[in-house]
Symmetry: C2
Subunit: 339 residues, 2 copies
């Protein structure tokens, strides 16, 4: 069945079960932010053929990913989600099953993080476009901003980088990775492939870090601010954006970049470049005092690393502790370009 | 110059001056809702070729209209605007001037209503799509909902209906209205045309009503709730939606429908149908006790009317006091269909 067979009222009926109760049915939805909190709002637009395609991703995963990207932005601000709105543009000849799967994927990701859809709009277009706005709440003293990194802060990344990009490459070209298969056990190879593909299809926004950060603040005798952002546009991009906003520089240790065994073994030649510029890993890059950073990395576990520190000089250098490679300057030019 | 010549960073620089200070530059924007208020959120998506076209509307007016539609939804909930986010999808060959004019139009409408852009996203697409989410604040006892209309409430509309639809017809076919020109003074004809076209290009969300409603509440010895919504999808649609949500019916007086002299004189045969089903007038349809309704209409002035009342029977009837026309049942089927 096609969207056009359902009609507008039919479509609204189809979508309603995926929305939080008592939010749909008026010109706007009503939310109740906790008293004394700031409101955080963030918007992402995903376009068919640009951000997703039926070749590499199911409609369920389009839904999951589009929600995950927005929740990741909330996590990057230190904010707990209050709900999202979904502005959908759809071709009339889209199948109803595609739309149901999209909403099922959004709902699965939202439920996992204790939130839901509170409103939206639905319109006709020649291109499927998913515009999501996520709303969150954060205590004024817990806002994570890009512009407050302090000299000598440790730079923490919360997990592996490059897996999502490698997963996309594998989906685009299933023959990839054949040349390394003779060095890897067949079971390991299968597990590696699956890990990389899952990283692309089902990214996990790091909202789980917020209670960890709260505990660190509570247990610390020191009052400290946390600066940072998410790595949705790539790890290098995140480091550069934070440094520019904070008018500082950074020294990043090449050896400390968290790259998964799956990525290292499957793509030995391109692992570093994927980790730096691949994007869409949806981890957090956080700047905070060294002793707190050590505790944080310890509590997060696998994949989390202190990758370097903030410097007074505004250079942003990737250095090799063993001097095998010369230092290189990180910049924005190698990341994903929308235009 | 084209969008693609600017690059992503260039585009962001171009857009920044149109955004409220200190809101852009992080993963999300931070807003400070007034203490003790509910948060209202509403989303609208406008697509090139569906909701606007270069034939009938300038990019400035696309910006104005897309903001006005969202602010109207806030007004319909009784909410004062806190800000909007703009999710834009753009073809790479769009001109930079088009984009600047779009933002200038959005900003002009936002400034008029004391608010601004607080965030957004920008991405490539083959179709220009403007997805706006507006945020507002409303006291819990001042929420205007569709579902709370009371039997015997008066139904108030806040202004003329049908002008926007007639204006669009004139833009699509400038020859229209020629057959009435022999009955109308040339100056009047020109003024009428301009009024109808302006109604389409620069709709005014009725946020000006919120302080009027506040004063009526303050001065009334009676505690009363106001039910309603905006008439963006047509006056008939609004009446039907309110009645269905509230499980009531309505009797609407044909003679009391507010139709402008411009519409009546330019389109004598289709004025009623435009007023009922044309849509995009962005007025409010409000249900409230009769004595308060009389005061409200008096305070709004030109165009505002009590058009009927809420009934226990769930019939929604358009009646003629002079019995010249038989009663007709209003329904949703004649309104604008997205699919």
């Amino acid at each position: 069945m096609l969207i056009s067979d359902l009609g507008e009222q039919g479509l609204l009926k189809l979508i309603q079960p995926y929305c939080l109760p008592n939010t749909i049915g008026d010109d706007g939805a009503i939310l109740h932010p906790p008293a004394g909190c700031e409101l955080v709002v963030t918007t992402d637009v995903l376009v068919d053929g640009v951000h997703f395609s039926d070749q590499t991703i199911t409609p369920f995963d389009v839904g999951w990913r589009s929600v995950a990207a927005n929740l990741s932005d909330l996590a990057a601000m230190g904010a707990v989600p209050l709900g999202i709105t979904v502005g959908l543009s759809l071709p009339a000849n889209l199948s109803v099953v595609w739309l149901e799967q999209l909403y099922a994927g959004m709902q699965a990701c939202l439920e996992r993080y204790g939130t839901g859809i509170v409103g939206g709009d639905l319109t006709r277009s020649s291109v499927t476009t998913v515009a999501i706005t996520a709303l969150g709440a954060v205590g004024a003293d817990r806002v994570i901003a890009r512009s407050t990194a302090q000299i000598d802060d440790a730079i923490v990344v919360t997990g592996y980088h490059g897996d999502s990009h490698a997963g996309l490459q594998l989906l685009l070209d299933p023959e990839l990775g054949r040349d390394v298969s003779k060095f890897i056990d067949a079971n390991d190879l299968q597990a590696h492939r699956q890990r990389l593909i899952t990283a692309h299809q089902r990214p996990q926004p790091r909202l789980d870090l917020l209670p960890i950060l709260d505990r660190l603040r509570l247990n610390s005798s020191q009052i400290f601010s946390i600066s940072g952002m998410d790595s949705s546009d790539g790890l290098a991009d995140a480091i550069v954006q934070i440094c520019r906003s904070s008018r500082v520089g950074a020294i990043i240790s090449r050896r400390n970049l968290p790259i998964s065994p799956a990525l290292t073994q499957m793509f030995p030649d391109t692992a570093l470049s994927s980790a730096l510029y691949g994007g869409e890993d949806f981890e957090l890059v956080l700047c905070l005092p060294q002793p707190i950073a050590l505790e944080l990395v310890d509590q997060i576990g696998t994949g989390a690393e202190i990758i370097g520190k903030i410097t007074r000089s505004t250079d942003i250098l990737l250095v090799d502790d063993t001097s095998q490679y010369p230092p290189i300057q990180l910049d924005l030019h190698s990341g994903f370009k929308h235009f």
